[in-house]
Amino acid sequence: MTSRRFRFRNGAAGWALTAPATLAVVGLLLVPIGAVIAGTFMDPRGVFAPYLAYFNSGFRTTVLFRTLQIAALTTVVSLIFGFMTAYVVSRAPGRLKSLLIITAVFPLLTGVVVRAFAWLIILGRNGILNQALLALGVTDEPLEMLYTQGAVIVGMVYLFVPLMVLSLVGVLENIPRDVLQASSSLGASPFATFWQVLLPLAVPGLIVGAVLVFTGSFTAYATPQLLGGERQTVLATLLHQRAMVSFDWVGASTIAAIMTVITISVVLAMSHIARRINPMAA
């Protein structure tokens, strides 16, 4: 009797539970955005004209690859440091854990204007870092750290490590410690335990974090503009310019469509890899 109830529940229940969210996303996101993107295919010059026009420019292609590079590097750095930090936090005693999680969240609450100011103080020509380097005699002249790709990545990692930590903490907490202890008591080296036991079990959290960080950094606008300046123009900058300066929504939507295709592809690829490592992951 139990199994019959469950068999009935399986198909219908799954759909019923996801229905509200599915309807919301389809009706209130897919349809409106679909309408906007459909507009890009109705250019009198040709169905794909806006897209061809986009790739016609070496500069714009450079921007695309630069944005991909920044997003990839930010994701990798955030993954590595976020994982290590989340692991330590998940093993922390009660009160300390709460404190650490709340502190991890604070960077997300600093407005972009004041955050840019803080990085100016740290990385600027007369900033803390330069003053320290000069005092230590490491360099004779202040280093130009701002308005480079490195500065952008640092600024973005600052925002996304917290995201990674929050994504992973829940997952890491649920990994039973005895599983890891069993692994080492069976003779596995700490590295083997990490690579073959901990990592696969953490993959659900890693994937969530990686997706959120990659898409967040790929579509980021304010941080690259403030910390990178125009030398570090990214796709979102071009999109904003089209929308807010030229009032060219066809052009802006074209860039949005290109960005969405790239993010979907990357997310699908990441999910695929994750499922290889841990079938329960995505």
């Binding site: 450079t62 204007v113 840019a116 100011f117 125009e230 123009t233 929308a243 807010m244 030229s246 009032f247």
Partner: protein, 346 residues
């Protein structure tokens, strides 16, 4: 007997109620204003409260920057608001997109009391209610030789000291005009030469700024010492860098006019006209100037030299400003956007 008395009484009661309701109905008029949103409290005190008393209406605001507000008006087909505050470059776009209705000058008697240049800056559309200028601010402590010309931006001693306004800001496109005059060409006819001049300026530029606060931070942390900026930023930059000065440029500064217009789909055009006339009133303009809100366009406004020092004020100064043909500029902006990115985006 009672029944026959009831009707006239009831009738009178009905009429009285209707009469008392009528002003209430008129009072429900709402004027929707689209503006930036800062200085809300001063504006409430100086403009909104007296205007509400005068018109007996409600005031509702849509706040935001030029671009998003204009975009929203466009998406709504010219409706949603009555009065629209914008900088002149954006109001020109609004006019070209057909989002505003021409103003009826007979309803704006205060127009006669304002500077000529502000009365009809964009044809039959809204007047300017304040005037500012774009020039060069520099730190005299860090820049030994005074800056006296726009061309000085290209000087060798200013290597890695300069910040220009980003192309998306109000003053951004003016950099192209400056570069064109440095190269001795017409920017609308020979933009290639203008941008080549900008390319030569690049070694001097540290970063281009997009908001006033970014510029102040760049100055206060010593990241830049020279910037092309709007006059309203000077006072605050000087608070952080007391040795900062407004350069006396031989060619003159560029004028920026903030305009006020009536949306095409305005629900209350008459009320909108009333409001525009109200903010051009010399008494209101005087208070706004003295309270540090906006520079006055009304000629009757009298300011002490100290009060005037922060504003673009006085017939002599105003007539010396360079004016921009926004129709031409807006037409060229899209191309300039791409060319700008190619220069500064590498």
């Amino acid at each position: 007997m009672v029944g026959r008395w009831r009707n006239p009484v009831a009738g009178m009661a009905l009429v009285l109620t209707a009469l008392s309701a009528a002003p209430a109905l008129a009072q429900n008029k709402t004027l929707t204003i689209s503006w930036w949103g800062f200085n809300g409290d001063k504006l409430e005190e100086i403009i909104l409260k007296p205007f509400r008393a005068q018109c007996g209406c409600d005031l509702v605001f849509e706040t935001g920057n030029n671009a998003d507000r204009l975009n929203k008006i466009k998406i709504r087909g010219g409706g949603g608001v009555d009065v629209v505050y914008l900088t002149d470059s954006y109001s020109q776009i609004g006019i070209q997109e057909g989002l505003f209705r021409p103003v009826d000058r007979s309803k704006l008697p205060n127009l006669d009391g304002i500077h000529e240049v502000a009365r009809a800056p964009q044809g039959g559309f809204g007047p300017a209610y304040t005037i500012g200028r774009v020039g060069i601010i520099y730190d005299t402590a860090k820049v030994a030789k005074p800056i006296t010309s726009w061309n000085d931006l290209w000087r060798d001693d200013l290597k890695r000291r300069v910040s220009l306004p980003g192309i998306t800001t109000t003053a951004g496109p003016m950099t192209v005009l400056v570069a064109a005059s440095q190269a001795g060409v017409d920017p609308y006819k020979n933009e290639k030469a203008a941008f080549a001049a900008l390319e030569k300026l690049k070694p001097n530029v540290v970063k281009n700024y997009n908001t006033g606060s970014e510029l102040v931070n760049l100055f206060s942390t010593g990241e830049v010492s020279v910037a092309m900026a709007q006059d309203f930023t000077l006072a605050q930059i000087q608070a952080a860098v007391p040795t900062a000065r407004w350069a006396e440029l031989s060619e003159g500064d560029y004028a920026t006019l903030n305009t006020v217009n009536i949306a095409k789909g305005a629900a209350n055009p008459d009320l909108a006209h009333q409001f525009i006339n109200f903010i051009l009133d010399p008494k209101i303009q005087q208070t706004l100037a003295q309270r540090g809100v906006d520079a006055p366009v009304a000629t009757a406004v009298q300011l002490t030299p100290e009060e005037a020092s922060r504003w673009t004020y006085g017939a002599k100064m105003i007539s010396s400003l360079k004016r921009i043909d926004y129709e031409k500029l807006n037409a060229a902006k899209s191309d300039w956007l791409d060319a700008w990115s190619e220069v500064f985006g590498r």
